[in-house]
């Protein structure tokens, strides 16, 4: 089978004409595509499970940030649920950048980016694999942040609608963030550039997330806060589609 070809044998120069990278990238239909996506995601999750550097930093930073916000607002804010939605989403945006910087940054530092790009998969499979792994990190981090907000601010965010909003918002954040991480990975000063690029594009997610969380904490009905779900869903749909179409262009000369 073509996939077992030894790596020291360059497929394009050898006599085996069946080793066409293009067909290896696309053959097998959508089941093979999903397997490739899962393989990329599993690779990142396994690397993280062994090194434990990315997720632990995100969790430590987000918990610290909630505590610092709690201290900063303690004297002047009469009711904690007035600021808790803003704190939640600011912390997620900022802590998420830490993880996103490592999505391709780690590959560049280890020198494994070109190996990843040589993998016989469509580039969009790399993108979706990275998005899934990063989603897992973000959701794991949120599993720490939400209880910490409950403890520090005494605001209970365990409502199904807030958790659904977190899921949709995180998906939009990670899908755009992963693409921007790929853009910044090989540029100078990538760690500082990523948040500058990412935060202004994240305004719809941020505003919708804060609006949604605040409306639910105020005890509004779905007819009132449903439009925030509309913003989040449209954002996710539009940007995942465009990222899927455009991701091929990023490393076209690599």
């Amino acid at each position: 089978m073509t996939l077992t070809a030894p790596s020291h044998n360059p497929p394009l120069s050898g006599p085996q004409t069946d080793l066409q990278p293009a067909s290896m990238r696309t053959e097998g239909g959508w089941r093979a595509y999903l397997r490739k996506v899962a393989a990329i995601a599993a690779k990142d999750l396994r690397a993280e499970a062994r090194a434990k550097e990315n997720l632990s930093a995100m969790i430590a930073f987000s918990v610290l940030a909630v505590v610092v916000f709690g201290l900063a607002f303690d004297l002047r804010v009469p009711r904690a649920d007035m600021v808790a939605p803003g704190v939640l989403w600011v912390v997620l945006l900022f802590a998420g950048v830490l993880g996103l910087n490592r999505v391709f940054g780690a590959e560049v530092d280890r020198g494994s980016l070109s190996a990843l790009l040589l993998a016989p998969v469509d580039r969009s499979a790399i993108y979706f694999g990275k998005v899934i792994a990063q989603m897992a990190f973000m959701l794991a981090m949120e599993a720490f942040v939400v209880p910490i907000v409950l403890v520090i601010f005494d605001v209970n965010l365990f409502s199904p609608w807030i958790l659904a909003g977190l899921l949709l918002g995180t998906l939009g954040y990670v899908s755009v963030g992963t693409l921007f991480a790929a853009l910044t990975a090989s540029t100078r000063a990538r760690e500082t550039m990523l948040p500058i690029l990412l935060l202004p594009v994240m305004v719809p997610i941020f505003v919708a997330g804060v609006g949604l969380t605040a409306n639910i904490l105020d005890g509004r009905e779905f007819t009132e806060f449903g439009r925030w779900f509309l913003i989040l869903a449209v954002y996710d749909l539009v940007f995942i589609t465009i990222a899927f179409l455009i991701f091929d262009l990023i490393w076209e000369d690599a």
Partner: protein, 247 residues
């Protein structure tokens, strides 16, 4: 510069140079006319008084800057899409020039708005959807310019810049609607049959004429800045190519 070089320089002054010079002269005249019209010619607004009446005159600049910013960002959207399809660097230069000029006009829109808002709304700043969107737009495009500077390869810079410009522009409608659902106090001046529209039809003759002059003057200003910036970027790329050939 040697005499021979100066002669060649003068000989190269073709039709386009003359046209650009004419455009620049027209821009200067139109902007001077706008200053006169907005400060002296346009009659004061009769339904306002005091500081508010004086501050109202800034609207001529506010609207003009807004035209320039909008035009610049539309050029940038067109430029980034056409670049990604054709890979012609001229379109990337158009994107960059559009964003640079548009950002300057966008800052102008925000600053004039701030000066008008203090006497009228009694606050410099508010999270009105138009203000929010304008500010986020300027921040997006400043990020674009910073991002470009960090990429060394010319083709990569053009491609990554175009991808980011595309994402930036597409996020703006969602930014606007999400901010709009937060709240809004911005006056809707020109908006067809919108029942919230104030003014527009109630403008005096001199005010309408001044607005007309402002639209023309700022369109000319935008065009000449845009063309000159585009030419400079083109010459810079040419200089970089020549330097590489020598090395």
């Amino acid at each position: 510069m040697t005499t021979a070089a100066m002669t060649r320089r003068r000989a190269a002054t073709g039709g386009w140079e003359v046209a650009l010079l004419a455009l620049n002269v027209a821009t200067v005249i139109a902007m001077a006319a706008l200053v006169w019209a907005s400060l002296l010619y346009a009659k004061p607004a009769i339904n306002l008084s005091g500081d508010e009446q004086t501050a109202q005159r800034i609207f001529y600049l506010h609207m003009g800057c807004n035209i320039g910013a909008l035009a610049g960002f539309i050029v940038s959207l067109t430029g980034s899409i056409v670049y990604l399809l054709t890979r012609d660097l001229d379109w990337d230069r158009a994107t960059q020039a559009g964003i640079e000029v548009g950002t300057i006009f966008g800052l102008g829109t925000i600053v004039t708005g701030i000066f008008w808002a203090k006497p009228t709304w009694n606050t410099y700043w508010t999270w009105d959807p138009r203000l929010t969107t304008a500010t986020i737009t300027v921040l997006l495009y400043i990020a674009y310019l910073l991002f470009r500077n960090g990429i060394d390869n010319r083709q990569t810079r053009a491609r990554f810049g175009s991808i980011y410009a595309l994402f930036a522009f597409l996020s703006l409608p969602l930014t606007y609607y999400s901010a709009r659902w937060f709240r809004s106090i911005h006056p809707v001046v020109f908006s067809g049959d919108n029942p919230e529209a104030q003014g527009g039809f109630a403008l005096g003759a001199t005010m309408t004429q001044t607005l007309f002059i402002a639209a023309i003057a700022f369109s000319l200003l935008f065009s000449s800045l845009m063309i000159m910036r585009w030419r400079i970027l083109r010459l810079e790329d040419r200089a970089a190519e020549l330097r590489e050939e020598i090395e």
